[in-house]
Amino acid sequence: MAETAFTADDFQPAAATESAQTVSRPSLSYWQDAWIRLKANRRALFSLYLVIGLSLFTLIGPLIWTVDPSLQDLEQISQPPGANRDAVVVMPHRPWDGTVRLPEIRGLELAEPATTQSVRLAWAPLPNAAGYRLYRNLFPAGEGQALGLPLFETASLNERHFEDRLDLKPRTYHYSVAALDTQGRMTGAVHRLELAVARVVTAQEAQAMGLVAEAGQLKPGDRIKLRAHPLGTDYLGRDLLARLMAGARVSLFIGIAAPLLFIAFGVIYGAAAGFLGGWADQALMRFSDFVVALPFLLFMILLRVASGVQPGESGITPMVLAMVLLSWPAAARLVRGQILQIREEGYISASRLLGGGAPYLVLRHMIPNTLGVILVTMTFAVPTAIFTEAFLSFIGMGVAPPTPSWGSMCNEGIKTMLTTPHELIFPALFISVTVLAFNLLGDGLRDALDARMRSAE
């Protein structure tokens, strides 16, 4: 075994290089670090853009699309987006004396082109008739089926014409005229006619609707377009886009104000319990356990009934108050747990040693250190609040009409779901997109803010 020869140089301390001591990258605060992590998360960033887009839609939207959400466009009721808006200008209506300029009437016939202003019908005699009854229907009636809405009845055999002006819409109608016997019963002989009604307006109506400045600018026969509704109209002819914007204000206000308030209350309550500890903590937490045990939606309904919203009130404030009353314990528990944990940390002892009083400790150290968790809870509380608003409004126990909210719009839309599904689909889409955005944002924030709560992906 060869001996190793040590020299004095071998016992010199290694040169301490200066570079190892310096911090090469700029120091990041907790929030800067979280922001960098959030930006790296594609899903979270996408949801953040969605939230920003929804805020713009709510706040800036009504400034761009300035249609009054409660204005009824009676010419266009329950119109889907992209519906035909063409109308022909006609003369104001003049009474009809029943003269028909047709060479010969066979069955039931139109005396003049059918328009939304009037449908003028004339019919040929039916065998063994002592009178006639005229019906209008939206669908073709089969043999033995009801013929529809009775419009006109006569016992005179010569009076074989009728002018229908009853709430005509630009669509297809099925008219039938039935022969009556002397007792007024239907004999079974029927003329039928299917016709399409064309949409017309008079120049005066066009001016009243604000389509033209002066009625004189229009001559009969001109073609004009009715008001535009990008997302269609609802069952009262109100503009759906304007209502969605107005509804977004209500839904998002409830969705954000309620969590903000109950989390603020929960933070104060939880921080007090956690910091006081002992007997007071026990009492405070027992009470919160009690509130947690109450069935949430059931009590939301109960509180809404108890608050007795009067006609003319929107019912937004009672709903926010009820949510605050019932939802704070979750936040209180969370904050209390965090405070109990933080209380034992070294930096709290250090701060106390340096003379920090109780309020200083809570406000300067404890609450800022729970802010991350609070923010995540808040983000997840928003979709829950929006769902609650939608659910309550849907069963008619939430925001009262005519105030629009996405939930109440769904409630109105579901009644006409089978014929005009767009009235349900648009508000439902907005609810879903909002809930989705806040859920994804919550996931992203949780991953970015709190290493301990990071989801197992």
């Binding site: 109450l294 059931l298 779901m417 349900l424």
Partner: protein
């Protein structure tokens, strides 16, 4: 275990008492009174009606009568359907809601476990991505929208085929139950799928799975006997909230599908301000939910002995 059960039961009773009290005073703080309806009543009739329903008594006496009746299981008589007792309404319509709810829970539970297990099995591959996309949709769409879309779809399918495959609304046969209960369970199913997935992924890395692998067990057996069984446990914990969600979700599904369940009657009573029916059904639902949560907690302690020590 017995002591814990008794303690929970007692807590539950106190909560139910609190619910009953809150319900009573909430209903009696409503502006106006139950008889102030559209019909104008003469003083005489009004006094008789008040005497019949005990409304002429002081509030504390009314509260005493209410609690006394409640203890005997008597919820009172409906104000709008004068010959119907609230007990009859509950007895008649709760079984319908319960059937719907149990089916929905079954759909949600089976679906959640199945889909969750599948996503874990195909982690980060196409089935996982697709299922998780559906889960995000399921969590973001309100139950009444699912109900409406489900009905719309049924109408379209029946229309295209020319005959009724499944009825669009109503109640009675198994065919009536399928779509509403599926719709009712969808949200919970999505939630359970997510839970099951993360629970499965956690277990894949656990010691006992590694041991089973090193013993040379076939992958299938590890999956069914080690992963699946242990991953289901956390799913049981959320059954309590799931029952609550499905019960209240039933309100709207029953409304949309015209199912004669208690939920629909509750919503109707709330809309018509039928005081006794609201009080009765609220207390009934409240007690039901409180005790379901207790039952689920006890069940979990029985299934997983590790949580018993608390």
């Amino acid at each position: 275990m017995l002591r814990y059960s008794l303690k929970r039961l007692l807590q539950g009773l106190v909560t139910v008492f609190f619910i009953a009290t809150a319900t009573f005073f909430a209903m009696h703080s409503v502006p106006g009174d139950p008889l102030a309806s559209d019909k104008a009543l003469t003083e005489r009739i009004r006094a008789n009606l008040e005497a019949k329903y005990g409304l002429d008594q002081p509030l504390t006496t009314q509260y005493g009568i209410f609690l006394g009746n409640l203890l005997q299981g008597d919820f009172g008589i409906s104000y709008t359907q004068e010959n119907r007792r609230v007990n009859d309404i509950i007895r008649e319509h709760f079984p319908v809601s319960a059937t719907l709810g149990i089916l929905a829970i079954a759909f949600a539970g089976l679906g959640g476990v199945l889909w969750g297990a599948l996503t874990a099995l195909y982690r980060n591959r196409l089935p996982d991505v697709l299922i998780m996309l559906a889960v995000i949709l399921g969590i973001s769409v309100p139950s009444f929208v699912f109900a409406a879309l489900g009905q719309l779809l049924l109408v379209q399918i029946n229309g295209v085929l020319g005959f009724s495959v499944l009825p669009v609304a109503g109640w009675g046969t198994v065919a009536h139950m399928l779509v509403p209960s599926l719709v009712l369970g969808l949200g919970t199913m999505a939630y359970l799928t997510r839970l099951m997935r993360s629970s499965m992924l956690e277990i894949v890395g656990s010691d006992f799975v590694r041991t089973a692998k090193s013993k040379g067990l076939p992958a299938r057996r590890i999956f069914t006997h080690h992963q699946l069984r242990n991953a289901i446990l956390p799913v049981v914990t959320v059954l309590g909230p799931a029952i609550a969600a499905i019960t209240t979700g039933g309100f709207v599904v029953e409304m949309v599908f015209a199912i004669p369940g208690l939920g629909r009657y509750f919503v109707q009573a709330v809309q018509q301000l039928d005081y006794t029916v609201i009080m009765g059904t609220t207390v009934f639902y409240g007690a039901f939910l409180v005790f379901m949560v207790i039952v689920v907690d006890l069940l979990y302690g029985w299934i997983d002995p590790r949580v018993r020590l608390e």
